[in-house]
Amino acid sequence: MDEQKMNDLMIDYIDGNLTGELKEFVTKYIEKNSENRRKYEELKAAMSLLEHDTQLEPDNSLKTDFMLALIEEVEAEHDRKVKPIKKSVWKLSPFQLAASLALIVSGVFIGMWLMKADSNNQQIAEIKKEMEDTKRLVIHSLTDNSSASRRLQGVNASYSIGDADDEIVNALIRTMNNDENANVRLAAVEALAKFADEPKVLNALIESMETQADPLIQITLINLMVKLKEKKALDELKRIIEDKKTMETVKDEAHMAVFKLS
């Protein structure tokens, strides 16, 4: 049994709340040794003090002494000459003045600079978000099957995203190869032509010549290869010329291109 519990039991014992075995147990505990006995006596004394606890009041003499001292002090105060601290801001030394001014001004400037840096960051974040929104819009428009003009608008909007963005480039390549509307495919070829110095885009443009069946797109791609002076397209051009399905007008264009590129 720990000490705290034993103390509680002893308190109950002193209060006369214990009966039977528990009372005997505590009696035995107290009589066991002098140490326990001493504890019991201490507790008992403390408790009897608590029981006889009454309001202690200082006697009246203390109060009279205090009042006398107060009156003395007030009288002494009247005799004293008071010199209040009177130091104007204008009496600060020029150095102190300059230093405090400098502190204020630099504080204002640091504040303004921090705010400006913050708004710059905000602007950058806004522009980034706008770009991301445009990207989503472009990709979403490109898959709108209900309106060819909307898809065309998607292709046109891709111009506002300056650098070749992988997602946009992939979407444009899909449109160039798979869109059912020739005007939309044509616009996609023109948009991709901007990024033709990227190997991935150039390869996609060359590969597209193989699958495009529409003379309008075939001729546009052939002329693009001539403009880019792209010798890598020669094999594909020769295939177009040999292909029985190719229209004569496309073949003529391909012949001209082979002649110019070789």
Partner: protein, 256 residues
């Protein structure tokens, strides 16, 4: 005697006038897309109604022996209109009209309610002309051999042809969505109101561009110009993109 003759003549004239209008088919629709697939001779006209009305302007005749039979073709289409056409639903707002009987002289006049998009595709080198008039909605037109004539239209439109000439007269240019018109071997002749605001892109590889409009040509900064003749410029204060291209033909751009 004279009055009797007049009456008889009147009846005959009335019957003759009424005959062509008898051969017609109606499709109730006010939105969505009307797709005209491989029809040979078609004129489309916008009107404010709530159904597509297809009329035969020429003569749609079936032989005496075919009475009670329907034309059938290799694409598995059957005439469900009584005028040699098949009309099918494709998805929930697209109607596809296809020609079933090819060996007839029927010319189709199709009235289209406002708000219905029109798509016309003809991939025959012998394809006849396509005509559209008074249409204020979106149009998609593609021909291989046939000419395209569009009068009093606004766009947005995507129009292309390989051998056909394309003539378009705009009442005004729809500003919310872009338009693109391209022909490979034909000439392109476009008329716009002088007050049009648009961002123009004019392209021809082997032909010339002629215009009486005030085009503010821009130097294409940061853009690679790959066509031998590609002109980018603004009409008025600029606006929606309008792309006109004739690879081998000329581009005529007129103000009105």
């Amino acid at each position: 005697m004279n009055a009797q003759l007049k009456n008889v003549l009147g009846v005959i004239v009335f019957t003759l006038l009424a005959l062509p209008t008898l051969a017609q088919h109606k499709i109730a629709m006010t939105s969505g897309m009307l797709e005209l697939k491989e029809l040979t001779n078609v004129a489309v006209e916008g009107y404010s109604g709530n159904e597509v009305v297809i009329e035969t302007a020429g003569s749609y005749k079936i032989p005496e022996r075919a009475k009670g039979l329907k034309p059938v073709n290799g694409m598995g289409l059957t005439d469900n209109t009584g005028i040699g056409l098949s009309v099918k639903d494709e998805g929930k707002d697209r109607k596809v009209v296809q020609q079933v009987a090819r060996n007839n002289d029927a010319k189709y006049l199709i009235k289209v309610p406002k708000g219905v998009k029109v798509k016309y595709v003809n991939s025959s080198i012998h394809g006849d002309d396509f005509q559209a008039k008074n249409i204020a909605g979106e149009m998609e037109v593609q021909t291989l051999g046939g000419d395209i004539k569009m009068i009093d239209v606004t766009g947005p439109m995507t129009v292309n042809s390989v051998h056909g000439n394309v003539d378009v007269v705009f009442t005004n240019v729809f500003q919310d969505l872009p338009s693109s018109i391209a022909t490979v071997h034909g000439d392109l002749d476009v008329t716009l109101p002088k007050s049009t605001n648009a961002n123009l892109s004019l392209a021809t590889n082997w032909g010339e561009v002629y215009s009486d409009l005030d085009i503010k040509v821009e130097n294409a900064d940061g853009m690679k110009v790959y066509g031998d003749k590609k002109i980018s410029g603004k009409l008025g204060s600029g606006g929606v993109n309008l792309s006109l291209s004739a690879t081998h033909g000329n581009v005529y751009l007129r103000g009105k």
